[in-house]
Symmetry: C2
Subunit: 183 residues, 2 copies
Amino acid sequence: MELSPTAYVILGLLSLGPKSGYEIKAFVDKSTRFFWAASYGQIYPELRKLSEAGLIDGEAKPAGGRRRTVYALTREGRKRLREWLAVEPDVLEMRDEGLLKLFFADATGGASAAETLAAKRRHHLEIVEQLRALEPLAAAKPERFPLLVCRYGIECNQWMADWCQRTAEELSAAEAGSKGRTA
Amino acid sequence: MELSPTAYVILGLLSLGPKSGYEIKAFVDKSTRFFWAASYGQIYPELRKLSEAGLIDGEAKPAGGRRRTVYALTREGRKRLREWLAVEPDVLEMRDEGLLKLFFADATGGASAAETLAAKRRHHLEIVEQLRALEPLAAAKPERFPLLVCRYGIECNQWMADWCQRTAEELSAAEAGSKGRTA
DNA sequence: GCATGCATGTAAGGAGTTACATGATTCA
DNA sequence: TGAATCATGTAACTCCTTACATGCATGC
């Protein structure tokens, strides 16, 4: 049985400890979401499939009067996770509307570029802030790799934000220069 | 009428000059693909929709005996493109299986991390190479922004490749250190 | 009594890929 | 003659998001 990438996100998160669907979603939003997101619409059906495949095991654990199912990796699930981890990563995709708009900015004579760069920069800085808030939480846990990846996110997004600023400055300098020559 | 992001990729590419569907695909593969991909399955249906909406105009231009339709932006299409360029970019998504595998590498006791980092590094370096080959082509054109974005891609992927190497070295140093202490 | 959070789920649909089908042309 | 390239298109599918429905519990 072939597993979707999101199935492995779930297996991976459960390797850090048993969780309910709700907790998985909350965890994803505070961790992997920056490089691999997941929504309820994926998580709950996937939990059922993984459970049917015997890779995870659900146990009813009501909290208060609320029904609640907590899932844990089975031995087979842990094996599948480790097998996946040993295979070379393949998917590496980006969808960056800011870069797209910058790419086509000649269509506005470059007039749209400054605002596009500023918005992209804000976006990256926002992510940096969110990750910085998460960093101490990751540092407090026994696992080493989530912290490593968190720092990658911080540094990488900071680099991107800096590039935006640098480039915006170069563009406005070039513009001022050409205006100076014309005047 | 709402347009999909891919529709704007097409409008943007046509702003650089009239093209057939086939040429659009080839162009995407040599330019925007690194931050926004598109396949035939999207391009041809989208060309039809854009044509019906009056944003582009198709003209039969057989090359040799092959049937061939070349599309060009209409005035309305150019307007829509510029309107889109003036709006703040929104979508910024990443799917990085390498980071995902690194994030969960504690499940193998860290044993999988070195190979994951090496593979991710190779992947980024491959992209750097492809973009470097494209750079002189972009530089030769009258438009400024495609070259800018190409250089972003080169620098950014180089940064990511360097991070992988740096991190792999740190990990192996830490491992050697802990072994030294244990021995 | 009401907003918020916990908790589980589904339906509909958007977006995009892969694989295939078709057929002409060019060049070795 | 056969491979590669040009050229257009579709069907099936995966993946994922959004929006909604439901209902209990907690705390103000």
